[in-house]
């Protein structure tokens, strides 16, 4: 039998009686139109995970990389060794910050659809990952985020109007309209400039942490990347450096199951957990329910205490789900089952904390509805204010000649010449 694809004539050669090799190309469990099925997920009880000492040797806690740190159980009760026992005011602050982030996302997504900017990325369903961590870190700890951690800026009370100005690339944009929307930089909030190139921030965070340690500082660094970009070389370089120098850094993997249209299997999820990457590097690894803000808080606090005790880095996998598309540029209904987000077995982070707060008697449905209304108005008013500074493509941008600034500290001659040439050309054209 001749295989029509066997153009090289490799099959059926004399002496080759071995079975043909097969290439495994991963396929997600469900595509559009198919039923989502998460029954294969092994979700341990909320109080099942033990809590090792913060200074535990990584070799003694490898199981943590394969389990799941949880706090909130199915009834909204905070249970188990990881329960951070937060005061009511912190719980309500978490709830409000997550709700504000969601309202902000909704407003800015709509602004993009209205043509007011080029691009947006929502963090819907993943708010707990950023906000739980931000509230567990000290305000002066340095964050090296990926592009879906807007919750950190909101948790650190960075003005949302400044975020909107950046998204609109308008004359109020502190980054002078140079960056794609949501690629914030906020030094005053301990928030490193977002690159857009994936996982480049990982070795940078490790370098910052190494510098802090070398200088005898007390501040630590934290960084985030998606599960898909753990495949980047930078991730592995960073893990090696973090392990070698026992850097005071927290490395977060936001496993939201999808990298644009590629499911987590293309980053290795069929073979093992992402937290298990820590095992090979000999660093502490935790796998956490990323939709449980109390678990995220507790794990981050554990890792921060570990780092401050000079006990080394921690790699945390936050197991969550990307409810919306990757960005405004893709339609998830084209590549995944529409049922997935509603069937996600770990629920919604805001709904779960809300349930917990109501169970504690510190919150109720009416107050929640009032808060949502208030936050929607807050972001609407902020957006109107930001739009006074302009929206993308409507002229209210930084002056053209500013394009040449900040390439270097001092503008060299060749850039001055190019700047002048541009201005002369526009002038000659009568513009």
């Amino acid at each position: 039998m001749t295989d029509p694809h066997d153009s090289a004539g490799l099959q059926g050669k004399a002496g080759h009686n071995l079975p043909p090799l097969r290439l495994h190309v991963p396929e997600p469990p469900a595509r559009p139109g198919e039923s989502a099925d998460f029954t294969h997920f092994d979700i341990p009880a909320a109080d099942a995970a033990p809590r090792p000492d913060e200074t535990a040797q990584p070799a003694t806690m490898r199981d943590m990389a394969y389990g799941l740190v949880r706090v909130l159980d199915e009834n909204g009760a905070a249970v188990g060794q990881w329960n951070p026992n937060l005061p009511s005011e912190t719980l309500l602050r978490m709830l409000r910050t997550m709700a504000l982030t969601r309202a902000f996302d909704a407003r800015m997504f709509r602004a993009q659809r209205q043509g007011k900017t080029s691009f947006y990325m929502k963090s819907t369903g993943e708010e707990a990952v950023s906000i739980g961590a931000a509230l567990a870190l000290d305000r002066d700890d340095m964050c090296f985020p990926s592009y879906r951690q807007q919750g950190i800026l909101i948790a650190r009370d960075w003005p949302i109007i400044d975020m909107m100005n950046q998204i609109y690339s308008n004359k109020g944009d502190r980054l002078k309209g140079r960056q794609l929307p949501i690629m914030y930089s906020a030094r005053d909030a301990g928030f490193f400039s977002i690159s857009g190139n994936l996982t480049t921030q990982y070795p940078q965070a490790v370098g910052w942490a190494m510098a802090s340690a070398a200088r005898g500082d007390t501040r630590i660094a934290a960084t985030w990347c998606g599960e898909g970009s753990t495949a980047e070389g930078d991730f592995h370089s960073a893990c090696t450096f973090a392990s070698v120098y026992r850097a005071p850094v927290i490395m977060n993997i936001v496993n939201n199951q999808w990298a644009i249209s590629s499911f987590s299997g293309f980053a290795g999820a069929e073979a093992t957990t992402f937290a298990a990457r820590a095992v090979g590097y000999g660093i502490a690894g935790l796998r956490v329910d990323g939709n449980d803000v109390l678990a995220v808080y507790a794990a981050t606090r554990w890792a921060a205490d570990r780092a401050r005790a000079n006990a080394g880095p921690t790699l945390i996998e936050h197991f969550t789900y990307r409810v919306e598309g990757h960005s405004t540029s893709d339609d998830p209904s084209a590549y995944r089952s529409a049922e997935e987000s509603s069937l996600w077995p770990l629920g919604d982070p805001i709904a779960r904390l809300k349930q917990h707060c109501i169970a504690l008697g510190i919150w109720d449905e009416d107050r929640h509805a009032a808060m949502d209304k208030e936050l929607a108005e807050l972001v609407r008013d902020a957006a109107r204010e930001a739009e006074k500074n302009g929206i993308l493509g409507h002229g209210l941008h930084h002056p053209m000649e500013s394009m040449f600034e900040d390439v270097f500290e001092e503008m060299p001659r060749h850039l001055k010449e190019q700047q002048q040439q541009m201005l002369d050309e526009w002038k000659a054209a009568g513009l």
């Binding site: 980054l175 490193f192 070795p203 090696t240 450096f241 900040d406 060299p412 001659r413």
Partner: protein, 355 residues
């Protein structure tokens, strides 16, 4: 010191500094030593740079003197080395990472090009990457295709990165100090063929040392040579030759053999480029030859040729010529056929001078 003399370029120098004979390695080591002494934020990192002092000995003694928190060995990941240096720069340190050979710099390209080179711009000045990446480059040592390359044109093509290449011990120290003090990322390519002595391109004659060379008299203290200022290695009127690194010495030798009154411009810094000096020289001589060891297509010579043409077209008596490495990998056994040596330079000069 031949025309132009390096000492006249000194901007700042400690009063009463002693001068010593140094080869280029010693001068580079001295630059880091001086800067680590002056500035506690300067840190040196890279493969084998710590206890061992570097495979070329450029960091010898620094760890013993300044401790492991400031001079340390790294894992073998160039991406990691530069990424960590970006983070250290964001913290407020002034890293001087070493990439052991320029041929190994490619895994670090994303961190250099997309991160270090754009950080100031994309953050509107909130964060900077004040690092100086030292890396031995160039051939002539039978290093084969992985220890001989000249990738400077890759970096000059990218925004936000300075590219500096010294040709003498004196310049190496003054330029390296300026690069370390500079608040922008700088690639500092060290022509390893001339670490221990100038090389005239005559590969079958005994190697010479820096001993007795005027530009090997190096102040032991602090001085800096500004980035973006070329050096007239030889003043002349017949022809302008633009070159840098090892090629400066090969060109000087070839010109001397021909007895030609050429003006040799040692660029020292490709970005920023001292176009004023280049333009003035070519307008004076009316002829221009460009010599570099890197591959030709899209090499820095193409940029030089374009700029000279744009600025000096009406002054030119002959077409501008380039002598460069060929567009092949650096061949091991055929190194001297590839290397832009005196034979090839002489042929190009004869062609230019014929018109």
């Amino acid at each position: 010191m031949e025309g132009g003399g390096a000492v006249s370029d000194v901007m700042t120098q400690d009063a009463g500094t002693d001068v010593q004979q140094m080869n280029m390695i010693q001068a580079i080591n001295s630059a880091m030593d001086v800067m680590m002494e002056r500035d506690p934020t300067v840190v040196v990192m890279g493969e084998d740079v710590g206890f061992f002092g570097g495979v070329f000995r450029a960091t010898a003694g620094l760890q013993q003197k300044y401790g492991k928190n400031r001079v340390f060995d790294t894992p073998i990941t160039e991406c990691g080395i530069i990424g960590v240096a970006v983070g250290m720069g964001a913290y407020g340190l002034r890293p001087v990472p070493e990439i052991q050979f320029a041929d190994y710099i490619y895994p670090a390209l994303d961190q250099l090009v997309s991160e270090a080179g754009r950080l100031r711009y994309r953050s509107a000045g909130e964060f900077i990457a004040p690092m100086t990446v030292r890396s031995p480059f160039g051939g002539g040592i039978f290093g084969g295709q992985t220890h001989s390359q000249s990738p400077e044109g890759i970096f000059t093509h990218c925004s936000g990165i300075k590219t500096v290449i010294p040709s003498t011990p004196y310049d190496a120290k003054g330029l390296l100090i300026a690069a370390i003090e500079d608040n922008d990322p700088t690639i500092f390519f060290e022509p390893k063929r001339i670490y221990n002595g100038p090389f005239d391109g005559e590969y079958d004659t005994p190697a010479t040392s820096w001993a007795g060379h005027a530009d090997a008299q190096v102040p032991t203290g602090y001085y800096r040579i500004p980035l973006g200022k070329a050096r007239i290695a030889r003043a002349g009127g017949a022809l302008t030759i633009l070159c840098y690194g090892t090629m400066v010495h090969v060109v000087e030798h070839t010109v001397a053999m021909l007895g030609l009154d050429a003006e040799i411009v040692d660029l020292r810094s490709l970005v920023p480029l001292d176009i004023e000096t280049i333009e003035a020289s070519v307008k004076k001589t009316g002829r221009c030859l460009i010599v570099h060891e890197a591959t030709r297509t899209s090499g820095f010579g193409a940029e030089l040729l374009a700029q000279v043409q744009e600025r000096c077209f009406h002054y030119l008596e002959a077409p501008i010529e380039r002598v460069t490495g060929f567009d092949t990998p650096y061949p091991h056994s055929l190194e001297w056929a590839y290397f832009p040596g005196p034979v090839r330079i002489r042929e190009a000069i004869n062609k230019i001078m014929k018109d």
